[in-house]
């Protein structure tokens, strides 16, 4: 029991001072491109973590290093307590990856490709056949098992990519932009799958362009920009500490200029269609709302309409990086 507890305390992924720069394609042009300037990242076992950042921020490089695709220049990465270089067989067998780019294969059916994939992880056909069948069924690909990748629709390709990442039953699932370029319906379907996998105990590392996706799914997010993690935390905490919300109230029959009515809040007052419009700037709109309404109505104000604008992770992102994520 104790050892199980200890094990769960070992982070799933632990990145320390990770640095990476790329040589230019044309070496004579000179000048390295610095991709990562020293990243620290700890993802707990069983956690759903989102790495957010604009293109070129270093998301894919970070994932590439964790999975062994890209060589690190400096720093260290361990997966479930073991080093990714000296213990690469261990660390890689614990990770399943769904890369950003969809893989193509001209020769084999998707079922066969899954058996190959399992084989690369040292799993014999007979040990994995039940699991492959179940995964294909679960992701709605069973009827297509004898098709080749090019015969699948875009959404099916994406699902196949995830099934492939799961074939060896990894503890950690890394998804690089899993919902890039797919329609809304499939996005929601994938979200459901991911939630379920998380419930089953998988650690999930997700990179995304879609902030709402991270806000909705991830327990913690890190915002990465120009090779460093600018901020990290629970989405709600980030919004609370870095974002701002507002409450708009449309009033008549009262004089809101009486300061006493609504003291303690900063607001802007504007005349509006026979009444007034008040815009309060607050940290947590839900908490402040009742106080504001109480103060206003106890003074006989007639409230026509209330609008709440909550700050989103997107605002946090823009305030930290100075640009929108899709710029």
């Amino acid at each position: 029991m104790r050892s199980a507890k200890l094990e769960s305390m070992i982070p799933a992924i632990d990145v320390r001072n990770l640095k990476k720069s790329y040589l230019p394609i044309n070496r004579r042009a000179g000048g390295k491109t610095i991709a990562l300037k020293g990243i620290d990242l700890t993802i707990k076992s069983g956690e759903f973590y989102g790495l957010l950042g604009p293109n070129g921020a270093g998301k894919t490089t970070t994932i590439g290093i964790i999975t062994g695709l890209v060589r690190l220049d400096e720093g260290s990465v361990s997966v479930m307590g073991k080093d990714i270089i000296s213990d690469y067989r261990f660390t890689r067998s614990k990770i399943g990856v769904s890369p950003q780019e969809l893989t193509v294969d001209w020769f084999f059916t998707i079922e066969r490709l899954l058996y190959f994939q399992a084989g690369y992880y040292g799993i014999r056909k007979e040990e994995v056949s039940d699991r492959i069948e179940q995964l294909l069924k679960k992701f709605g690909l069973y009827k297509k098992r004898n098709s080749k990748i090019r015969e699948l629709s875009g959404g099916m390709k994406r699902r196949f990519q995830i099934v492939k990442a799961l074939v060896h039953d990894p503890e950690i699932l890394i998804l690089d932009e899993p919902t890039a370029g797919i329609d809304v319906e499939l996005r929601h379907m994938l979200w459901d799958y991911l939630r379920q996998l998380h419930k089953e105990g998988k650690t999930i590392l997700l990179t995304t362009h879609y902030i709402d996706e991270a806000e909705l799914l991830c327990e913690r997010v890190g915002i990465i920009n120009e090779g460093t993690i600018v901020v990290e935390g629970k989405p709600s905490e980030l919004i609370q500490s870095l974002g701002k919300g507002s409450i708009e109230v449309y009033l008549s029959d009262c004089d809101p200029e009486k300061e006493a009515l609504i003291s303690g809040f900063s607001y802007v007052l504007e005349p509006y269609d026979g009444g007034s419009r008040l815009v309060f700037s607050v940290d947590e709109p839900e908490k402040s709302l009742s106080e504001i309404i109480k103060a206003l109505s106890s003074n006989g104000c007639h409230i026509h309409e209330v609008k709440i604008t909550k700050s989103s992770l997107e605002d946090v992102f823009i305030s930290l990086t100075g640009r929108a994520i899709n710029d």
């Binding site: 790329y22 590439g64 999975t67 062994g68 695709l69 890209v70 060589r71 213990d87 690469y88 067989r89 261990f90 890689r92 067998s93 614990k94 990770i95 990856v97 890369p99 780019e101 969809l102 893989t103 193509v104 294969d105 001209w106 020769f107 084999f108 058996y115 190959f116 994939q117 084989g119 690369y120 992880y121 040292g122 799993i123 014999r124 040990e127 994995v128 039940d130 699991r131 179940q134 995964l135 069924k137 679960k138 492939k164 799961l166 060896h168 039953d169 379907m189 459901d192 799958y193 379920q196 089953e200």
Partner: protein
């Protein structure tokens, strides 16, 4: 959505270290199935071309060219044709498979698995070597069936086929690693491999050449492997068989080591 949790797997033995034999076997078989699934492009053409050579030379030139080293012209060129098939197939298989994997993003999928660079490179080499051997054996069979070619030293013949297939599959690995487009591969084949094969004495004995060209041919390694096979099949040119064998072994070791080291370093594969 089906919410049933798929059956979990037991602990993966590969995580404990040691050689990933199952992975190695899987990738090797994948490489073999890959070319077999397109046998019309990978097995049949060599056979057809060789049959054409045999028919054309058999029907036309043989009447005008006297026997070389005591065997008829068509039989004389057959070991050369076999070697030509072995070399081009072994080499093409590995180089195109690697390039294809790079272009289709499959290489990345492979590099993140718990397979070592050594296991991956040997799987590719063996895949190409099997294609080379199959092609060589089929042309050999064609020779036995249609022109009644004798096979004097069968075991040596087989050994030689395997050795040369392996060696040139290793060369294919090196090229596949460096290649960034199909053009790169075609250039190497058209301007390097094919001339070396033709100048290696597939269609003639280098004794027929003037001294200068004969001496030049002696530095062409392919000349030795063709000679070696010619001896193994027809028992002619026995005086240089040890040298031929040594050249084939050296070439095989050299290409294999360079290929594996480049793959391990991740040249043009890992960033």
């Amino acid at each position: 959505m089906n919410t049933q949790k798929p059956e979990s797997l037991k602990k993966l033995p590969v995580a404990e270290g040691g050689i990933n034999w199952i992975g190695f076997r899987t990738l090797t078989l994948r490489e073999i199935y890959r070319f077999l699934s397109v046998y019309r492009q990978t097995v049949i053409p060599g056979l057809v071309t060789s049959a054409l050579y045999i028919i054309i030379f058999g029907l036309t030139l043989q009447r005008r060219i006297s026997a070389i080293d005591g065997v008829s012209y068509t039989i004389y060129i057959l070991p050369g044709l076999i070697m030509m098939n072995v070399i081009t197939n072994a080499y093409n298989n590995t180089s195109s498979s690697i390039l294809q994997m790079k272009l289709l993003q499959q290489m990345q999928d492979l590099l993140i698995t718990p397979m070592s660079s050594m296991e991956i490179s040997f799987s590719f080499i063996i895949g190409g070597a099997v294609r080379g051997v199959i092609n060589g054996l089929l042309v050999l069979l064609l020779g036995i069936l249609i022109i009644d070619m004798p096979v004097v030293h069968p075991i040596q013949t087989l050994l030689f086929l395997i050795l040369v297939s392996w060696g040139f599959s290793g060369a294919g690995l090196i090229l596949g690693i460096f290649a960034e487009s199909w053009d790169n591969i075609a250039t190497m084949v058209n301007f390097f491999i094919t001339p070396l094969i033709f100048l290696g004495g597939v269609f003639y004995s280098i004794d027929m050449l003037p001294a200068f060209w004969r001496n030049l041919s002696m530095i062409n390694p392919i000349y030795y492997v063709i000679n070696g096979l010619r001896y193994s099949i027809l028992d002619i040119g026995g005086s240089t068989v040890h040298l031929s064998f040594a050249v084939a072994v050296l070439m095989t070791i050299l290409f294999t080591v360079i290929g594996v080291v480049l793959f391990q370093k991740g040249t043009r594969i890992k960033q």
